[in-house]
């Protein structure tokens, strides 16, 4: 059927700069650029251009500009170009719209309505460059109190804890959704910096098991790659219930990305869509979650903290409380703007609630119930910079997961085509020609640089507030004020309006 869709991007080539080196042609997995030998000219067909900017970045003479296509239908506040294009595609295929990355709609971003405090006169700020400043964080269940024996020695033995040098972990990104090289880069950066990467639900390739001490290994509804060796390799086992980008539905790795290597780790036929069921079929109720938590504790001889990751949904506070009571040591909450390798657009853009509100509600509820110490909270979904993270910790998070920022550090431009199997940056692809462009030596360096930079910035902000340990900020909402928020929003966030 003839497609009535217009291209999303316009490519402008400055022919006077073009040296016919054909880099753009080789770099583009979408086959947008080609060389016309007769005319000795580079030509392009922008219909398939994803706007990933790979050609523009790698063009040695900067001859290329790729920008949103000015083609437009008659302007209409209701029928925007997005709605028209999507609808036409569906009329042509009868299919569900698939997309990648996080919600790109203009929902309120509460980070931008929260401001931080700093010390002036009455208490001193601290200079983090020359004075001690601690970001070290331990995740895991803590008891209500400690017991000391008569001889002064400690009687209490803590449940398993994991140590982070900075309260930032890499989000779950599965082998198959991302390339081997991308996973290796994350694993190496986490190991070098003293934090964790997360395997996602696609198992852990054998050659990366040496990074197990810095791995959160996931057990999702598809149980891909889950066996006792895998579970005991990781430092934390995480039960993935939901994901911010697609609450209520399962994982979906398109068949195009299921190569032989992926087929082996996931134990499914090559070329098939790797579908994780929407629920875990051994969890239909909270006592079943408790059963799986304890199954994993048995499987790891009670040596690892068990995390449960949920999408932020309406009743997140009540659900998190149930998860803690079910025995989880860590609760991870992934917000509305969390990313994905593939999700139906209708779900990604419409289901779930912003992480800021969910995090505040969960932390508040767990404190009201006196069980906040029983589990650590990891917030996820929508962090863009170090100050977002500082604000999350002030709202009550112990640590945060970053996914999109890590991808961007490696080269991602958030073109949202992760589901296609084509990623010109070598990150979200299993095509060996594309994935080998991502050099783990360089990518892991870019990642540690990011962790370094953000950690430094966080220390600066902590110092400004006059505290030199991250725990003095954790849940300390007095260091936050709201700007431009309504009463109910301030109430959910548990912060005062600025000036109050």
């Amino acid at each position: 059927m003839k497609s009535y869709s217009l291209p999303d991007f316009l490519i402008e080539r400055d022919d006077s700069r073009c040296i016919r080196c054909r880099v753009c042609e080789r770099q583009c997995g979408w086959n947008v650029h080609s060389y016309d030998a007769e005319e000795d000219k580079m030509v392009h067909n922008e219909q398939d251009c994803a706007g990933c900017q790979r050609c523009a970045v790698f063009c040695p003479t900067k001859a290329l500009i790729v920008r949103p296509h000015p083609y437009g239908y008659r302007p209409n506040a209701n029928w925007t170009k997005d709605y028209l294009s999507d609808l036409k595609k569906q009329a042509e295929t009868g299919s569900i719209l698939l997309t990648g990355m996080g919600n790109d709609k203009s929902f309120p971003i509460y980070w931008d309505h929260l401001v931080l405090n700093a010390s002036q006169v009455t208490n001193p700020s601290i200079d983090p460059l020359r004075e001690p400043m601690e970001l070290r964080t331990y995740l895991g269940r803590k008891p209500d109190r400690i017991e000391v024996l008569e001889d002064g020695t400690l009687k209490t033995v803590l449940a398993p804890q994991i140590k982070l040098e900075t309260p930032i972990l890499f989000s779950a990104m599965s082998y198959g959704a991302i390339s081997f090289q991308a996973m290796e880069s994350l694993a190496r950066a986490a190991t070098e910096f003293g934090t964790m990467f997360n395997t996602g639900e696609g198992g852990l390739p054998r050659s990366l098991r040496k990074y197990g001490k810095n791995a959160v290994v996931q057990c999702a509804s598809g149980r891909f790659g889950v066996d006792l060796e895998y579970l005991n390799t990781g430092a934390v086992v995480e039960i993935k219930i939901g994901q911010g980008a697609k609450p209520g539905i399962g994982g979906h790795l398109p068949g195009k990305k299921v190569t032989d290597a992926i087929s082996e780790t996931r134990m499914i036929p090559a070329g098939t869509d790797a579908l994780s069921p929407a629920p875990h079929h051994d969890i239909y109720s909270i006592e079943d979650l408790s059963m799986l938590i304890h199954a994993l504790k048995e499987a790891t001889n009670y040596e690892k903290p068990i995390s449960v990751k949920i999408a932020a949904v309406h009743n997140a506070a009540a659900i998190a409380s149930g998860i803690v009571r079910a025995g989880a040591d860590i609760v991870a909450i992934d917000g509305l703007r969390g990313s994905t390798g593939a999700a139906p657009k209708s779900i990604r853009d419409n289901v779930g609630i912003p992480i800021e509100l969910a995090l505040a509600a969960v932390d508040t509820r767990l404190r009201q119930e006196g069980i906040r110490n029983q589990a650590s909270i990891i917030a996820a979904g929508g962090f863009r910079c170090s100050s977002d993270i500082v604000k999350a910790i002030a709202l009550g998070a112990d640590a945060v997961y970053i996914g999109t920022p890590a991808l961007i550090a490696m080269g991602c431009t958030v073109c949202q085509k992760c589901y296609s199997g084509i990623c010109n940056w070598g990150i979200c692809t299993t095509n060996p020609y594309l994935s080998k462009r991502l050099n783990p030596n360089i990518a892991s360096r870019r990642l540690t640089n990011l962790l370094n930079a953000w950690s430094h910035e966080m220390k600066e902000m902590l110092g400004g507030m006059g505290v030199n340990a991250i725990e003095s900020l954790r849940g300390n909402r007095l260091h936050l004020r709201g700007v431009g928020l309504q009463e109910w929003e301030l109430e959910v966030l548990g912060v005062r309006g600025a000036g109050r």
């Binding site: 239909y284 006592e287 659900i319 409380s321 009571r325 079910a326 006196g370």
Partner: protein, 381 residues
């Protein structure tokens, strides 16, 4: 702080719904002979891991033979003042034949129980309006009164429940002292509250009791429908909704229990399309008239009333239920092991299909599965 909250009779947070999950057990002697609940307590305790100690309870039928014509009210009070107010209300609408503080035993894990009072009552209305009168007054107290909650209101039956593991609740209420011919039991795992006495199961109205496992995802519309039909829902629980739905369908609409079950868990349209014309018409009409009472999402319930015990799961059996018989006894349980603990040798044991009720009646055989059920043992040829 926490113990104070435990005193509460109602949902302490303003959640749109309370989420809880559980273990269930039920046992009926089809000859109607009373027996001690010792085994039932052991069985539910064997499923300790399914609960979290924030709710346990029992329903016992046939325990007040000396008051079999009186409505037995069990009421929880937050304070003596509330009791005094409620007593005035009760005296206005009922003849109080007898009343007393419920016998309880101080038992360690049970902290800060409310004041628990038992009344035997006769409504001040014509006999044919007795049931309606009781329902009206119970709902009125439970809706209007801050700090009084009627948790049992049937004749010759009673509910005993509270915050704690069921085995502790049993000791607290001295259940050893009671006998009944039908027992149901519940161990609760609420997800979002420190537990509150009113929210424990069984839930009761008249002699109906419901114990429930799962979370009914259609709760919002089930509740709105029932509220529009005169049942104010005060507890934000699935169980309350289920109990009112049973009362509406079976008492007010006079439908047989089998039909009620098909309203809660109807066949899929694809299955209905394959039925004969008469059956098709029946199920199509059920789904057209009672769409708001389809209980969607995972559930297992054990519903009981005098002379009858019913087990039902949702139509794709997302929650477990095992049935078994031994002599005159019909057992229903979340797990087979709980039944085996108290009755190692069983005549039959099986797991019913989703949406297919297991019904036990006094004076009848446990009616459930065709003779060639799926769990007949393999023959040794």
């Amino acid at each position: 702080m926490q113990s104070k909250k435990n005193e509460r009779l109602a949902n302490p947070y303003n959640d749109d719904k309370v989420i809880a999950a559980c273990s269930l057990f039920g046992c009926l002697d089809i000859t109607g002979r009373n027996f001690s609940g010792e085994g039932v307590v052991q069985a539910i305790a064997n499923m300790h891991n399914r609960g979290n100690g924030l709710g346990g309870g029992f329903a016992v039928y046939g325990l007040y033979p000396e008051h079999k014509d009186h409505y037995a009210f069990h009421i929880m009070y937050q304070s003596r003042d509330v009791k005094a107010e409620t007593d005035v209300f009760l005296e206005e609408h009922f003849d109080i034949i007898e009343d007393e503080e419920m016998p309880t035993k101080h038992h360690h894990p049970i902290t800060n129980p409310p004041l628990l009072w038992r009344y035997f009552l006769l409504p001040r209305t014509e006999p044919e309006f007795h049931d309606n009168h009781v329902v009206d007054k119970v709902l009125e107290i439970n809706k209007e009164s801050k700090g009084a909650y009627v948790f049992s209101s049937g004749k010759n039956m009673g509910v005993f429940k509270g915050v704690g593991y069921p085995e502790d609740i049993a000791r607290f209420f001295k259940l050893d002292d009671y006998k009944g011919y039908l027992w149901t039991a519940h161990g609760r795992f609420p997800t979002n509250t420190p537990g509150w006495w009113g929210g424990a199961h069984p839930f009761n109205l008249l002699d109906w009791t419901v114990v429930h496992n799962g979370e009914i995802s259609s709760y919002g519309i089930n509740r709105r429908y029932l509220e529009a039909h005169g049942y104010p829902c005060t507890l934000q629980t699935d169980t309350e909704v289920m109990a009112y739905a049973v009362d509406l369908l079976m008492r007010k609409h006079r439908l047989p229990v089998e039909t009620a079950c098909k309203i809660f868990a109807p066949p899929f349209w694809s299955q209905i399309d394959q039925m004969g014309p008469e059956e098709q018409n029946m199920y199509r009409t059920i789904r057209q008239v009672y769409p708001s009472l389809l209980m969607n999402g995972p559930f297992t319930v054990i519903i009981a009333r005098h002379g009858e015990m019913l087990g039902l799961t949702d139509r794709i059996r997302l929650r477990p239920l095992t049935a078994a018989t031994r002599g005159n006894l019909l057992y229903l349980s979340s797990e087979e092991a709980a039944i085996r603990l108290i009755s190692p040798d069983l005549d039959r044991v099986w797991t019913p299909n989703g949406g297919e009720p297991i019904i036990g009646r006094v004076g009848a055989q446990a009616r459930a599965q065709p003779a060639e059920g799926p769990f007949t043992e393999v023959r040794r040829k």
